[in-house]
């Protein structure tokens, strides 16, 4: 066994990318005041649509686009129900997860056991040649770079851009935002679609790079961990990155320990990411992280005349 940092860091970054992408999408959704509990369903749908697109076209890039499209399509259902028909967000999110698990299994039947086209690593010229940190940080595939870029982009969007400010206003107090003339429903719909696309990307990363093949229920709770990450990060992008890498680290470590046959029950190792997620949730909520939640989170909005 080789549990050295040079080996672990790249693995950790790859293991974290799915939950990072999905968590980032959900962060934007929740910032707009919507709680979408369907992340798991959108991820698994993205995993299969991405896989299908990649296998059909032979292009991993189109695969990722297919994953994003699949996640967004499912998110559209959520948006139509919660924003158009004012349905209960918790129930609709759960329905999305249950439906997504069934739909993906249905779509994926013909794809079990297939190998997707390989997503190439893109070493950054120059930087990747550096000793030690080169192979650790600058020799990854496109999606790892994209996820890091997305963290910075979401942070800058929410903090410095005018649409970002409006989105936050809608999430903090939808009645006031409506009174100011902002289209609450439209803004939330766009946030929901973005969240779906990001969850789909995360799912596609699982089926195209991490595993890489299609198996039923392969997300195995990653969507729920992404949801927990948003609370962990108190709705801020950079803490989300730290949280995602923390969980990626635990995942990689426990997998390596399993492979090495460490004298700890396999089941205990397999449940460790979930246990740690719960533990962190408890610590964060005891510290009062819920106070950072957007004011209108989870509350339906209906403009009455």
């Amino acid at each position: 066994m080789d549990i050295s940092l040079i080996n672990l860091i790249p693995l950790l970054m790859a293991a974290s990318t799915p939950i990072l992408l999905a968590g980032l999408g959900e962060l934007v959704v929740e910032k707009s005041g919507v709680l979408n509990l369907g992340v798991e369903g959108m991820m698994i749908t993205g995993a299969i649509t991405g896989f299908m697109a990649a296998v059909a076209t032979g292009s991993p890039t189109l695969g990722f686009l297919g994953g994003a499209a699949g996640g967004a399509a499912l998110a559209l259902v959520f948006g139509a129900l919660t924003q158009g028909l004012m349905s209960n967000q918790v129930a609709t999110g759960l329905a999305l997860t249950l439906f997504g698990l069934g739909l993906s299994a249905l779509l994926g039947q013909a794809f079990v056991g297939l190998k997707p086209p390989v997503t190439p690593d893109l070493p950054i010229p120059g930087l990747s040649q550096l000793p030690v940190i080169g192979p650790m940080f600058f020799d990854h595939d496109l999606m790892v770079y994209f996820s890091l870029f997305a963290v910075a982009a979401v942070w800058a969007f929410l903090r410095y851009s005018r649409p970002g400010l409006i989105l936050r206003a809608v999430g903090e107090n939808h009645a006031a935002a409506h009174a100011l003339g902002y289209k609450v429903t439209r803004i939330r719909l766009m946030a929901i679609l973005f969240g779906g696309a990001m969850a789909g990307l995360g799912g596609a990363y699982l089926s195209l790079v991490r595993v890489p093949q299609w198996t039923e229920g392969m997300t195995a709770g990653a969507g729920w961990i992404a949801l927990a990450l948003v609370v962990f990060a108190a709705w801020r992008p950079f803490p989300l990155l730290i949280g995602a890498y923390l969980f990626g680290g635990i995942t990689v470590l426990q997998l390596n320990m399993q492979a090495a046959g460490v004298n700890v029950p396999v089941e205990l190792l397999s449940m460790s990411p979930y246990l740690v997620t719960i533990l962190v949730l408890v610590v964060m909520s005891a510290a009062g992280a819920a106070a950072g939640a957007p004011g209108s989170l989870g509350r339906p909005f209906h403009a009455s005349r």
Binding site: L81, M86, G102, H302
Partner: protein
């Protein structure tokens, strides 16, 4: 311009109509889905909804199955509905179901092969305790640290699944099973066997427990102050606070009851139809029960009917798998669709459609 206008009070007739319309819409959408899969849509719908009960060929087998499947669904959904009414979201019933089965079966396997007339009641108690304890984790974390009970209860499902597989291959494995995973079969341990009460009806103690739970929940919600507090906390949290409802007590009660019922459902299953602890013991009842609770309008009688309907889709789905080689996943998607349509039609119980004629003022 079509727009929605909020009703002053939820419409009674739409509350009843919405589930029926949702079932009808799901049948239509399902038929389209089956047609896309290259199956005869009418035959598929008939196989799922009609044949399990009325077919002379399969009816005698599948009618008892209906109660066997509906029992745990109703039992779990009744517990969940109490919390859902109060805005307390226990969505980890699947984990509590598994832990209840492990606790109850564990007790029986510890006493094996002693014959004890009170063993089954003791196992039921142990099952309820197991589920209760597992649900208390998110409950207590919520009341003590304000930790989100949705996420914790759900994440604990994955933990429970790992404990289940550890039990099946390790500490509960049948020592005479030739090294294969899985525990002893409780069906061949007379004191522990949750057998059919009346032969060939599918009625075992779990089905009886489900019926008792329906009645108890009905009485609780209609006649008891606690039931009133549950409804009040869900519909008017501020009023509940002013009325002196203790939120922490309510959370612990709702989580505890739903956990205990889910645990009992798991025990009845492992001691009866399933027979033993195996790696794939968790069959998703805990998640399907969420659909049942909503489809039944969170009302005990509604849940009874919804549980039977959902059991029908399970058995009809198996039949369709056999007869039409319809994939199992199609039924899962079908059940998810049902919840979608229900949530969509629900809009009309709270809003009315207004078609503005001419210019809006």
């Amino acid at each position: 311009m079509i727009r929605l206008e909020r009703r002053p009070a939820p419409s009674k007739s739409w509350t009843y109509l919405a589930p029926l319309l949702a079932v009808a819409a799901t049948m239509i959408a399902g038929a389209i889905m089956f047609a896309l899969l290259g199956k005869d849509p009418v035959l598929a719908i008939k196989t799922i909804f009609w044949d399990p009960v009325f077919s002379p060929q399969f009816g005698s087998y599948s009618r008892p199955q209906l109660l066997i499947k509906a029992g745990p669904l109703i039992l779990i959904a009744i517990g969940l509905s109490l919390g859902f009414r109060a805005g307390i979201w226990n969505i980890g019933a699947e984990g509590q179901y598994i832990m209840g089965a492990l606790a109850g079966a564990g007790l029986a396997l510890a006493l094996y092969p002693m014959e004890l007339p009170v063993l089954l009641p003791l196992m039921v108690l142990a099952g309820a305790l197991g589920g209760w304890a597992w649900a208390m984790i998110p409950g207590l974390l919520r009341t003590m640290f304000n930790t989100n009970e949705i996420l914790v209860s759900l994440l604990l499902v994955y933990v429970a699944e790992q404990i289940l597989s550890a039990a099946a291959v390790g500490f509960l494995r049948n020592p005479e099973g030739g090294g294969f995973p899985g525990s002893r079969n409780l069906q061949s341990y007379p004191s522990a066997h949750n057998a059919e009460i009346i032969a060939n009806t599918g009625i075992h103690w779990g089905v009886v427990a489900a019926l008792i739970a329906v009645i108890a929940a009905y009485v609780l919600l209609q006649r008891h102050i606690l039931g009133f507090h549950i409804k009040l906390a869900g519909e008017a949290p501020r009023a509940a606070k002013l009325a002196g409802v203790n939120p922490a007590r309510l959370i612990l009660f709702c989580m505890g009851v739903s956990g205990a019922l889910a645990g009992m459902a798991g025990l009845f299953e492992v001691a009866g139809p399933a027979g033993k602890i195996s790696i794939d013991f968790g069959a998703g009842y805990g998640f399907t029960a969420i659909i049942v609770a909503f489809l039944g309008r969170l009302h005990p009688v509604g849940i009874l009917l919804a549980g039977l309907l959902m059991a029908l889709t399970y058995i009809g789905g198996e039949l369709a798998q056999l007869m039409l080689s319809l994939p199992a996943a199609a039924i899962q998607a079908f059940q998810g669709m049902l919840l979608f349509f229900l949530l969509a039609f629900d809009v009309f119980s709270h809003y009315r459609l207004r078609i503005a004629t001419g210019r809006a003022a």
